[in-house]
């Protein structure tokens, strides 16, 4: 990284300041304070000034990144002032400490706190036991959200993995156009869910009957002699129109990963099957699928986890209206619209519980590979 090159001169300079007599201790105390003050000043500057945004950006980047590096270099220097034995014990924590601190503030503490808050009322004042969970698991609104989440999980995962697999096997055989085809199908993955939602909202656009249909779907329907529909208010099918967006986004991703696995199927295996007279369909089900089972499971799990937390598409397309609510969107609305922190927390915990198997699997996996 370039920062490394820019900063590597600093430790020696800093060290020479520190190593001159009693100034050391004073410097070691002053430097962090000054660094903090500079940060504080720049923070206020950035917040309040009307200066050119690009300028602020550059200042922010410079100070932000510089400060992070300075933090490490300064503490490392301080540690090298310690007696060597103690220094060696402390040094790993200089490297790993900031990361652990941030993880504690941003993930570990909130996790504990959210569990705690989920047993309190809307304003986190009175203990209400499992009332929030009872709401989350039994209220009619939430049951619809659960049903929808289930629809999302089943249909997105099912379609993404099977479409991804079929396309991966197909593009493997088209020769030099393979990269182009893959790029085209993978492209939606680069687009934000918000952008994708606008794209599809335009496709689903509906105008009352005599006016011309500018939405692709309604114009196809009317061209075929059908009646135009407001697809996004058409219960319960509107859920599927949202689900299609996610399938459009993720299929390319599954296809690329599966394609790499398909290329790993040994040619001899396929040849042998062909010599035995197996049809392409039988080879697909009998040779390719069993060989890449591991990849398929990984992809399915990944997609499941992504879909479980689906928020953006629902937020932009329908805000959960007309029975399209999902858990993550409801959680957002509980917190920011209804101001019910207890229920919001309980919903977050439900999402967490749903990913626990994946968590355990990951940790166990890493334990095994390390030992």
């Amino acid at each position: 990284m370039e920062e490394a090159a820019q900063h590597e001169e600093q430790p020696s300079k800093a060290a020479s300041i520190f190593t001159t007599g009693p100034l050391r201790i004073i410097a070691s105390l002053i430097v962090p304070v000054v660094a903090f003050l500079v940060l504080r000043w720049s923070f206020i500057f950035m917040r309040d000034t009307d200066a050119n945004k690009l300028l602020i950006g550059l200042v922010a980047l410079f100070i932000g990144v510089g400060a992070v590096w300075a933090l490490y270099l300064i503490t490392d220097n301080l540690v090298s002032l310690l007696p060597q034995r103690i220094g060696d014990t402390v040094r790993p924590f200089v490297f790993v400490g900031p990361a652990l601190t941030i993880l504690c503030i941003y993930l570990v503490y909130p996790l504990v706190r959210t569990i705690y808050l989920s047993f309190f009322d809307a304003r986190s004042e009175n203990f209400v036991g499992i009332e929030n969970y009872i709401f989350a698991l039994t209220s009619p609104d939430m049951l619809i959200a659960f049903r929808n989440n289930l629809l999302w999980l089943v249909f997105v995962t099912g379609f993404v993995v099977s479409l991804g697999l079929v396309i991966a096997v197909m593009v493997d055989r088209i020769g030099r156009w393979e990269p182009v085809a893959k790029s085209i199908i993978f492209l939606p993955m680069a687009i934000s869910a918000v952008g994708a939602s606008v794209i599809w909202k335009f496709i689903y656009s509906f105008q009352p009957s005599p006016r011309p249909q500018i939405g692709l779907l309604n114009s196809i329907v009317t061209a075929l002699g059908g009646e135009p529909q407001g697809w996004l208010i058409l219960k319960p099918w509107n859920n599927f129109f949202l689900i299609i967006i996610m399938i459009w986004i993720l299929t390319g991703f599954a296809m690329v990963v599966i394609s790499a696995a398909v290329k790993g199927v040994p040619a001899e295996l396929l040849e042998a099957a062909r010599i035995d007279g197996a049809s392409e369909v039988r080879i697909f089900f009998g040779v390719i699928i069993p060989y890449i089972r591991g990849t398929l499971i990984t992809i399915a799990t990944t997609v499941l986890i992504m879909v479980l937390k689906i928020f953006d598409i629902v937020y932009v397309m329908t805000s959960g209206q007309n029975d399209t609510e999902v858990i993550a969107n409801r959680m957002f609305r509980e917190v920011f619209v209804f101001r019910n922190f207890g229920r919001g927390s309980a919903l977050a915990i439900l999402l967490l519980i749903a990913v626990i198997p994946a968590m355990i699997y990951n940790v166990r996996n890493i334990r095994e590979t390390r030992s």
């Binding site: 932000g64 790993p92 808050l117 020769g175 939606p188 927390s345 994946a358």
Partner: protein, 297 residues
């Protein structure tokens, strides 16, 4: 995505056979690719049409007279960038995204180095915690952090969202960089130590430059993640025009101007420009980064 020239096996069937089975195959692929592109193309074409045209006819009608200049205009972009504040949002997005990529990478690289090449008590446990945190849904963190930010006056500030993205991206960053850094040859690290290099020097002069491929993959993943993120931006930055980013601005436009497709199509395309450039320019890293990062909470 395999961008190298095709070197893999050829099917050992007669050419007649191949031709017969290849035509339907190719046709299917072309149809799929066509369907997959159509939504984006429709958006792009519409964003370049005058407002009245968009509202009175479908975008596909441009193909009746594609070279008629009156059909095309940049007015929608001009309008959405200025009146609808998309221009400011674009700058804000850059301002949010770049530090949100650089800071976690720096912090994660230090941590990954320590996990890979240093000994300290509780290392295995701490690493397991990092891995476990990787799939934690970030919804988990929103409420407590929101309150913390209110106390610290960090709501609606860039600093606040940088740190939030740093926190949420860190487990994955540590995990990915650890995977790479721990697989560097032991002799290199050892010889640096024998030559008297301090751990800091080994890290900055040796390990970081060697880790550029892993850093690049994560950087692209994180860049797109932050750029495309809506939830974190809504929660910690809000929708005020001075700070809001392209995604939340676009989401707000959908709410404010439901059927004003001249604004929405141009706005949507502005949110997509940078990701598409990254996609086409850095495709190989892009795929690697996305694949590796897909487990992020």
């Amino acid at each position: 995505m395999n961008m190298t020239p095709q070197t893999r096996r050829r099917h050992s069937r007669s050419w007649v056979n191949r031709l017969l089975s290849d035509i339907p195959l190719r046709l299917t692929i072309i149809i799929i690719a066509f369907i997959w592109t159509l939504p984006t193309v429709g958006l792009l074409i519409s964003s370049l049409r005058p407002q009245n045209d968009i509202q009175s006819s479908g975008w596909w009608t441009v193909f009746e007279h594609p070279f008629e200049a009156t059909q095309w205009t940049l007015a929608n972009y001009q309008r959405v960038l200025t009146t609808d504040a998309m221009g400011d949002a674009f700058l804000n997005s850059l301002l949010v995204t770049i530090p949100s990529v650089v800071i976690p990478i720096t912090i994660a690289a230090f941590a990954a180095y320590a996990f890979a090449w240093m000994e300290f008590p509780g290392k295995a446990f701490l690493f397991a915690v990092v891995v476990g945190l990787m799939v934690v849904p970030l919804q988990m963190s929103l409420i407590p952090l929101l309150r913390l930010y209110t106390q610290l006056d960090l709501n609606g500030t860039f600093l606040g969202i940088w740190l939030a993205h740093t926190g949420f991206g860190l487990p994955l960053a540590v995990f990915l960089l650890y995977g790479y850094i721990s697989s560097l040859p032991e002799e290199i690290i050892e010889s640096a130590r024998v030559d008297g290099a301090s751990p800091m020097m080994t890290f900055t002069r040796l390990v970081l430059p060697l880790s550029v491929p892993a850093i690049a993959s994560f950087a692209i993943f994180q860049f797109l993640w932050v750029w495309n993120d809506l939830l974190v931006a809504l929660v910690f930055l809000g929708t005020k025009k001075e700070v809001t980013v392209v995604t939340s601005r676009l989401a707000a436009l959908v709410g404010e101007r439901g059927e004003a497709w001249h604004v929405l199509t141009a706005g949507a395309f502005i949110t997509m420009v940078i990701p598409l450039i990254v996609f086409f320019a850095l495709q190989r890293y892009f795929v690697r980064g996305l694949t590796a990062g897909s487990v992020k909470g």
